[in-house]
């Protein structure tokens, strides 16, 4: 068993190449509808991996990723619609704006821990939602911003797919590097034992803030990508219920492995669309599935597999707190 996983792992560069080729070739044999789904999966994966920077690596539980995601989406939308900024710039501005807001929000949030941290992220997310919702003259309020124009060369679903794929690969590669860097290791140490981290000279709060800002950046990037995909943005993107999607994916994919959120995204969107297609009462089914998944698949999908194959993973009590 262990050797099987080890063998897979050793050749992971090969697997990665194969996966990329597969993803590249997808539009050729998928319908437009399905290709569209994969775009959603990729975007959600970026968001969930972004969230994972603070949740899985730094151990900071956030209830409010939606707010930063919406900042990215709305920044891109507003720049295109109100200021006629070229699409490329607008897409890049989204994550930057989200990172800035993330800095402001994070500065207050990292002074707290555990449930209080989580609740403050929720409060800020809802404040962002309220601002977007109420500032009718600027953001269109409840009507959202519709009819966002996207350059012709990526207007078609397939082309936008490649565009998204490229940016997703870039984002995931960046996050991978960050996760494997000394900064990433420091975050993990902070997660494991913030007190001890202080005692070995690490300024815990600054690292947590930095992680929060980076996480916001990628959440905003996902929001911007979605803005271009959906061509519309709505205040609901900032609502905590939407944020729950990102959290569920991050959690169920497996917080402690890098690929976890990516797998989770595939699973979640698939589940979502499959249930929608065969029943009107999809929240019922989805809710039930989520409950079952949490009860029985606590390490997430990625955790589930590596636990099966690895002899040295800790389960149980340490993971519970």
């Amino acid at each position: 068993m262990k050797s099987l996983w080890n063998r897979i792992y050793t050749f992971r560069a090969v697997w990665l190449a194969i996966a990329l080729i597969f993803l590249f070739a997808l539009p050729s044999f998928l319908s437009l509808g399905h290709t569209s789904l994969v775009v959603e999966m990729l975007i959600l994966a970026v968001a969930a991996c972004g969230l994972n920077l603070i949740m899985g690596y730094a151990g900071m539980v956030s209830f409010g990723p939606a707010g930063l995601y919406a900042v990215g989406a709305y920044t891109t939308a507003l720049l295109i619609v109100k200021a006629n900024v070229p699409f490329g710039l607008a897409i890049m501005a989204g994550p930057v704006a989200a990172a800035i807001i993330g800095f402001l929000v994070g500065w207050f949030c990292v002074r707290l821990t555990h449930v209080y941290f989580a609740l403050l992220t929720l409060a800020f997310s809802q404040i962002i939602h309220t601002i977007i919702f109420q500032w009718y003259s600027f953001t269109g309020g409840d009507n959202g911003i519709v009819g966002i124009r996207v350059p012709d060369y990526i207007a078609s679903i397939n082309h936008y797919y490649y565009f998204t794929l490229a940016l997703t690969v870039v984002c995931l590669a960046l996050m991978w590097m960050i996760g494997n860097s000394s900064f990433g290791k420091t975050l993990q140490a902070i997660r494991e034992n913030p007190e001890r981290a202080e005692f070995i000279g690490i300024h815990v709060r600054i690292y947590q803030l930095a992680a929060f800002v980076l996480s916001s950046f990628f959440l905003g990037a996902a929001g911007s990508l979605f803005c271009g995909f959906n061509r519309n943005v709505f205040p609901v993107y900032a609502h905590w219920i939407k944020g729950a999607d990102i959290i569920v994916v991050c959690l169920l994919g497996g917080m402690y492995k890098f690929l976890g959120p990516f797998l989770g995204s595939i699973l979640y969107i698939t589940l979502d669309k499959v249930t929608v297609s065969f029943t009107e009462y999809w929240p019922l089914v989805l809710g039930l599935i989520i409950v079952l998944l949490v009860l029985f698949l606590r390490g997430g999908i990625a955790g589930f597999f590596t636990e099966k194959f690895s002899a040295t993973t800790i389960r149980g009590s340490r993971e519970e707190r």
Binding site: V115, F124, V291, V294, E320
Partner: protein
Amino acid sequence: MVIENLIRQFLSGLSVGMVIFIIAVGLSLIFGTLKILNLAHGSIYMLGAFLCYWLTSTFSTAPGIFWWALILAPIGAALFGGVIEIVLLRRIYGWHMMYQWILTFGLVLFVGDLCKLIWGVGYHMVSPPWPFKGSVNVLGVFFPSYNLFVMVLGPIIFCGLWALLRYTTLGKIIRSATYNPEMVNALGVNVPLVYTSVFMLGCWLAGLGGSLMAAMSAVTLGMDASIIIECFIIVVIGGLGSTLGAFLGAIIFGLAYTLGIVVFPGVAIGIGFIIMAIILIIRPWGLMGRPE
């Protein structure tokens, strides 16, 4: 005119605040003792509201049906809560907060859609019961007497809970279990039973709030999502786990919201979150909570 408006909003704030208090104190109790932030608390509230609506509309000719519903619907909510606690929540005590959040989120989806399955997507109203059908003149303003009833009921429930926690054996057990469940267990108390009872009490309160709200506001899908956030706000202001805190928090929130709408209509919608953020920033454990 302005004065009248303010008075009306003031009274409105108090009455809405009292209903939300009843719901929020359930959440606070559950968090204080079981250490779970139950996202599905709003769903139980909605369930209570729908049960109340269902009873009053099905048996509309029975005399005093609303009062019957007011008794039965919360019990129904409590029983439903009891089942959830025994079947699901017991397994996740002590788990990482995120898993609890997501599991209860799954319940939100489930229960919300269950209500849709049973009662459809309509917008339902329940009329206030006799003897509170009309309006009375309060401080020069005409105000629904039902809302006054609710305003009075709030403090009564508060006193009841306070007395329960302070003076009864069960209350003392609950308070001890909040601080030290292992010790309480070692003393021979059936801690799981205590947990179930507390959860059912919380759900009873949510169901009661829902039933009361049914005659004040509409019964419809989506009421779960809005109320749960308001509960969080109140519980943060008052302090997680504090009964008095929930009471004060509800009053503060209710008044801030209704008066805020008159003064700063644009901001008022978000006033709750702003207060919540401010409290978390300067005094995270709330008005009545204790710093850890």
